[in-house]
Symmetry: C2
Subunit: 313 residues, 2 copies
DNA sequence: GTTCGTTACGTAGCTCGTAAAGATA
DNA sequence: TATCTTTACGAGCTACGTAACGAAC
């Protein structure tokens, strides 16, 4: 059934990223150049160009070889993911040397499919009811649901990659065809054992010696301005960014910090955590978070969109 | 505290992907060319080149405008994520026009930090114990934990992006410095109401009219060969790929299908689901899944690696 | 004729390899 | 000298805009 093409590198965009990764692997430009079957000055040129384009240095050079800079280290997982994404796309929609479609025979039909995107934190809250509602109201409708960060959802709406998006509002641009579907207060979430220490220091968490845990990097997170207000108001100093919600739940369960999230996300965090967690409502201290749904203005899926909209009324 | 640069496009690699996305947004090459401030033949050339490099057509052209192909539609979210990734990196490690580091002052220190990567499905199982163990054994050690798909973890080990990886084994290349840390049977997971129908048709699920739910696309998923065996043995016909585990839990809760996963992942799925789920052990029918940990051969983190290794003995 | 698209073609600039040079032991 | 790196430079290729062309109504 499956006919996997094992690509070493994706076909496009590879050269500069591939050069950087191979250099990181070999810890030497000349050895990396060998491995890539190019000359060493060419590799040097490519990495210089990548650094110039990115705007920061990736590699420290010296006479005994190379070492990644902090920025290079930070960039590396992104480079890996980009190349892996491209490899995967090309493996799925690839053609082998005979010109036949290669990877598997499932046709990636997209026409007529109602595509929904939900912000990751909201998906455990809404996905099931969306499935139920659409199955009931539009039994013949095919639909797909994906979860992505808010900013990606907004882009996908713009570029007609999805037909409906549901997300927490943030300060980046707001779509004309978006509607407010709810408002929520934020709550502080912590381990039961940390509860009293945090509550008595709420105006100055600097004296609480565990870090504020933030999802992903601050730029990826949805509300940079709100985050800024929170950190300032609570006088937070210790700060740790984590990769995702599962990791965050584990950190809190291990009493290694606390976080602040919208109230509706608490249940998901409690489900993910093995330990007893406590919440402190912060509705009075901070602006509430708004939930939106948006869709392209000329969507052919008026019916399904209204079905979803009705869920929030 | 935060100084966000709002980039419309990332600086590098943008041109072809940006051209494609703008074309999708405008549904017209000439209008997209206008929006990008390039001439229309140039845009046409860029998209042709992108199609040639990718190996498949992205756009159907005709006299009244353009329309994405199925492949183009499939590729679009990848293009969005790649550009979003690049934007985020450049926003975090960006320099503004004054030459000052822009986004926020947190230094992305990487030296001396023990970096762990865990496969997404395993992370809820292990993360907390890793945190506990490392905190006890190495109280001064700074560490980071990220979750990624298995293939990305393997690449990150190769390119020295992380110091330790924990993942389910698959058929792609195996690291020399990897050790087996456990073995698991696979189980079928379904809604309580579907349990009896599935159990009595286990040799021929074709007659069960709900789809087998697979995580992500088959190429991304960890065990293409195992998946192939499963689908063949159970005679599965209906097949649906989903974006992530939360969506999968919702589909099963909504009685829209079933899946097969390693036993240790069942608890996470049950936590994510609002409905009563049932499992059917399949240990006799299929090969067991192996869990591995691996690390670069010249790691400076021998101590922490052994602490983690001890957890599995 | 107008509005979509593509093809043709010359130029500017980019990318490559070869060759030479700089740094450190 | 050996082993890393970078700089210099010319040849060939690529990507761009201008101009011309094709198709549909």
């Amino acid at each position: 059934m499956f006919h996997l093409i094992k690509r070493e590198w994706p076909i496009i965009f590879n050269e500069e990223l591939q050069s950087f990764l191979t250099a990181s692997n070999k810890k030497s430009l000349s050895m990396a150049a060998d491995a890539l079957h190019i000359t060493q000055p060419t590799l040097s040129y490519r990495i210089k160009k990548l650094e110039k384009d990115l705007g920061f240095k990736l590699i420290e050079r010296n006479w005994e070889g190379i070492k990644l800079t902090n920025e290079g280290q930070y960039f590396l997982p992104y480079a890996v993911r980009i190349l892996e994404d491209l490899k995967n796309v090309q493996n799925v929609i690839g053609f082998n040397s005979d010109g036949n479609q290669a990877t598997y025979e499932i046709v990636h039909k997209n026409e007529g499919i109602f595509r929904i995107g939900i912000n990751s934190l909201l998906s455990s809250l809404f996905t099931e009811s969306f499935i139920m509602e659409l199955s009931n109201d539009h039994p013949d409708l095919e639909f797909d649901i994906i979860t992505r960060p808010t900013n990606i959802l907004k882009n996908l709406i713009d570029y007609k990659g999805i037909d409906l998006a549901v997300y927490y509002g943030n300060e980046t641009h707001i779509h004309t065809h978006s509607s407010l579907i709810g408002t929520e207060e934020v709550v502080l979430l912590c381990h039961e054992d940390d509860f009293h220490d945090i509550q008595k220091n709420l105006d100055n968490l600097q004296s609480f010696n565990k870090p504020f845990l933030s999802y992903d990097n601050p730029v990826l997170s949805n509300n940079i301005e709100l985050l800024d207000i929170i950190l300032t108001t609570l006088n937070v100093r210790a700060f740790k960014t984590l990769d995702n919600w599962i990791i965050m739940a584990s950190y809190i369960a291990a009493k290694k910090g606390y976080t602040i999230i919208p109230r509706s996300s608490v249940s998901q965090m409690i489900n993910l955590s093995s330990a007893p967690l406590k919440t402190i409502p912060l509705g009075d201290m901070f602006p509430h978070i708004k939930m939106y749904m948006s869709h392209p203005k000329d969507s052919i899926f008026k019916g399904p969109i209204n079905s979803i909209k009705n869920l929030f009324e």
